[in-house]
């Protein structure tokens, strides 16, 4: 039994029972699905995007990256917005809010012009949802002037956001596209337009694989394919980076951020929270494993809080933000030698190979003992050896050495490599 911990968090002036929301996608397509997810513990949902237009989908729609026998690393999808009628979708959200008043229901909307955006925002308010999220970022829309066409154009972001925020009093979350060099530009435009929060990131335009039979990308749709959005564990590092960049911009930093991108475990959740997100959204892992994954997010987060002595999420939200600097600000006075444990080593020699071929030739190989031998005078402390070692406790941070002419000072090192 997990320890009792309060996972509730305030987001846009509303108390959420936990930060775990389904993100806008097929996992939040209708009442029955969302109701099931609520019963399993999800704190809220951002609905499948509702538009005036009804999308016309292709088949098949997905492709994955990864290794045999391993879960997907990434998922490519060609899915667009809801295939169901607009009124039907809002009715579903209305019923959800009626039956699950303690859960947070967010309507994701997408218009193709100002009139549609305004109309959708009003319909969402009538349906009684808590917030509205604007899908300014879907990378595979078949209609021009939609999705990431909008999100990568700050001017359009600003004007559409203005339309929405003038049509409704509900807090508006602008969903950002990662398919842009500087994510702070559309984010600032959204804030100028009146957005109350930013959610980031939507999927990344990609080609996951090339089919060698048809010489096209995957999935093969009648012999052809298209660039479309990539999601899942593979994009988490990119999502974290964008969030850090958003939070680092003085004009945006204080605005609540809902973190999205490759979340699968409580550990991933904590990472987004430590960067300063107040809300978390998940789809790909749910498509892969089902709504039930929230159970381990809830438990895991509680155990984490117990271990670290936190009582509420606000005790640790944002703790990592200020420790991530630009590369020029890092301490470059020292290097950290790896320490080898010959008793735990199983003698595969991977550290030796990598240090020679990809490092600084600081490890030699004792053929008789089948063990690596470190030559400290050649080692630069890059720790490539530690990263290729198939065991996690054979190579660990060892002696700290200071470069010539640099003054000695305490150096905190990583200890937990699990």
């Amino acid at each position: 039994m997990a320890p009792k911990k309060d996972l509730s968090v305030e987001f846009l002036g509303t108390r959420c029972e936990n930060p775990f929301f389904l993100s806008s996608s097929p996992v939040g397509a209708d009442y029955d699905m969302i109701a099931k997810s609520f019963r399993l513990g999800w704190g809220g949902v951002v609905s499948k995007t509702i538009g005036i237009i009804v999308s016309d989908e292709c088949s098949p729609r997905f492709a994955t990256t990864g290794r045999e026998g391993m879960p997907w690393l990434g998922l490519k999808n060609l899915d667009q917005i809801s295939e169901k009628p607009t009124e039907y979708n809002f009715e579903q959200l209305f019923k959800l809010k009626r039956d699950f008043p303690e859960k947070i229901v967010v309507a994701s909307i997408m218009g193709s012009n100002e009139k549609e955006w305004s109309q959708l925002a009003k319909m969402a308010e009538q349906a009684g949802v808590d917030f509205i999220e604007g899908n300014l970022s879907c990378p595979q829309m078949t209609v021009n002037g939609c999705g990431c066409d909008v999100g990568s154009n700050p001017e359009m972001v600003r004007s559409f956001t203005k339309v929405i925020t003038s049509a409704t009093k509900l807090p508006f979350i602008a969903k950002m596209t990662p398919n842009i060099t500087d994510i702070t530009l559309p984010a600032k435009a959204a804030l100028e337009g009146g957005a109350a929060a930013i959610s980031a990131i939507n999927s990344i335009r990609c080609i996951t694989n090339i089919d060698l039979e048809y010489n096209t990308a995957l999935p093969v749709v009648a012999g052809k394919s298209a660039i479309s959005g990539y999601s899942g564990a593979a994009i988490r590092p990119i999502a974290l980076r964008f969030i850090q960049q958003l939070r680092s911009d003085p004009a945006i930093g204080k605005i609540p951020i809902s973190g999205i991108g490759g979340i699968e475990t409580w550990h991933d959740c904590v990472e987004f929270l430590l960067l300063g997100c107040r809300n978390l959204q998940v789809t790909t892992a749910v498509m892969q494993y089902g709504y039930r994954i929230v159970e381990d997010m809830i438990d895991g987060l509680k155990y984490y809080m117990q271990e670290r002595g936190f009582d509420k999420l606000d005790d640790f939200i944002g703790l990592a933000h200020s420790n991530i600097l630009s590369p020029d600000k890092l301490d470059r006075d020292y290097y950290l030698l790896p320490a080898f444990d010959p008793d735990k080593c199983i003698g595969c020699g991977r550290c030796y190979i990598s240090c020679y071929d990809g490092g600084h030739q600081a490890i030699s190989w004792d053929e008789a003992a089948r063990r690596p031998v470190l030559h400290a005078e050649r080692c630069v402390g890059c720790h490539l050896c530690m990263n290729v070692c198939p065991l996690n406790d054979v190579i660990s941070p060892g002696e700290v050495r200071f470069k010539e002419g640099r003054s000695k000072h305490p150096v905190p090192c990583q200890h937990d490599y699990d």
């Binding site: 199983i346 190989w365 053929e367």
Partner: protein, 418 residues
């Protein structure tokens, strides 16, 4: 009755599961698996090829290094060779190397690959006596070096022990034939049903060929000198298996069968007898299971078939007047004894060489052909495999045959230089 599965209990790899297994490989620097393969098959190289999606390359590595790569993959006691050496054992359990070899070897057939080609003709001729593993390996290697090679064998079909000694359940004839077809493709000539010593004299071969290789194996059964060993119902393991191989689907030997021995031949006899319809088959071995030379996986699957194994008991007398009615054992401890009723006793207690082909050939005390680095006492006559090292694995015979081929090559090139 449960179906007897080829080589152990795990299903064959699919492309996906093979990749999973190959990804478990640590890709060791010094590859102890490769060092421990008597045939020099180089598992480290073919596993790495699978790991990096080069399955055809893996098939080529196997075929280039081991002309009987598919046979070995099916019958090699990997758990005592490459898999025992595997570094991954230090982490959890070894890579299933034999099974990966089977998978990669099959790719050669699936893709219709032609890996080997003969060397440019040297104009020198070599006769290989015997069409078993050692001789096939020597012949193939010599063909690759450009020699004109002819194999002589007393049997109707080539393969030696592979064709006439190992049960078809464990090693399908199609696998043997596929491997041998590669030797045929190389252009090796086969003179079957021709016994050297009677049909053709060794002296004639020495006269007509530039060198002679003896890879005649061990075909004389060792039956312990105990009372009753001449009774009807007593037979040798190799005779039993040979008959079984010749008839195709097992030979009904009796109802209650006792097999004496602790090697793969004993297990083969036991499973073959059981599948041929014996009521009760029991293996009795004079040493412990730990000391048994049999492949452990094979041992397990034989037991799963319903064969019982009793250890530390040696036969002392076969009971019966006109035919076998039972057998008496004495324990290794000097105290235990047992009398067991049966109608058939199969001795799988080792074989020795049938070296009657030439009086001038020097033999060892054990009756094997005396050879140093493949050279026998007769100039220009080389020998390797079981007939020299006294009954090891197919892989050992392949390795020895290959080495002998290179000895012959240097012998002939030296002679040429003179």
């Amino acid at each position: 009755m449960k179906k007897y599965k080829q080589s152990g209990s795990t299903p064959d790899f699919t492309p996906r599961t093979a990749m999973e297994e190959a990804a478990r490989c640590l890709l060791c620097y010094d590859a102890p698996c490769s060092k421990s393969c008597p045939a020099g098959t180089d598992p480290a190289r073919f596993i790495r090829a699978i790991r990096f999606r080069n399955v055809k390359g893996a098939a080529a590595v196997i075929r280039e290094n081991n002309i009987l790569g598919a046979c070995c993959a099916n019958v090699c006691p990997c758990d005592q060779l490459c898999e025992e050496a595997c570094s991954r054992s230090g982490l959890d359990r070894p890579i299933r190397i034999g099974q990966l070899q089977r998978y990669a070897a099959e790719a050669e057939t699936v893709y219709g690959m032609k890996v080997l080609s003969p060397g440019s003709e040297r104009g020198a001729k070599v006769a290989c006596v015997g069409a078993g593993p050692a001789s096939l390996s020597a012949a193939a290697e010599l063909r690759k070096l450009g020699y004109d090679v002819t194999i002589y064998d007393a049997n109707e079909k080539p393969g030696g022990y592979l064709t006439y000694g190992i049960s078809k359940e464990r090693l399908a004839q199609s696998v043997v034939d596929a491997d041998i077809s590669k030797v045929v493709e190389l252009g090796v000539n086969f003179k079957m049903s021709t016994r050297v010593g009677t049909d053709v004299k060794l002296e004639d071969l020495r006269e007509n060929y530039d060198a002679v290789f003896l890879g005649i194996g061990l075909w004389k059964a060792n039956i312990p000198d105990i009372p009753g060993n001449q009774l009807p119902g007593v037979m040798s393991g190799i005779d039993f298996l040979r008959k079984s191989c010749e008839t195709g689907d097992g030979v009904s030997a009796g109802k209650r069968i006792i097999v004496i021995g602790g090697g793969d031949v004993a297990l083969d006899c036991a499973s073959t007898a059981l599948l041929a319809g014996a009521e009760k088959v029991a293996v009795w071995y004079r040493r412990s299971l730990r000391e048994a030379p049999a492949d452990q996986e094979e041992l397990c699957s034989t037991v799963k078939l319903g064969v019982s194994i009793t250890t530390d008991m040696a036969p002392v007398e076969i009971i019966g007047t006109d035919a076998v009615t039972g057998i008496r054992f004495r324990g290794r401890d000097g105290v235990s004894s047992a009398a067991v009723s049966c109608d058939t006793v199969i001795f799988a207690t080792g074989q020795s060489a049938d070296t009657m082909l030439c009086e001038k050939l020097e033999l060892t005390e054990k009756g094997l052909v005396a050879a140093q680095d493949g050279r026998t006492s007769l100039p220009g006559v080389f020998a390797a495999g079981d007939v020299v090292h006294g009954g090891k694995t197919v892989a050992a015979a392949v390795g020895a045959g290959k080495q002998a081929a290179h000895m012959i090559h240097s012998f002939l090139t030296e002679r040429e230089a003179r």
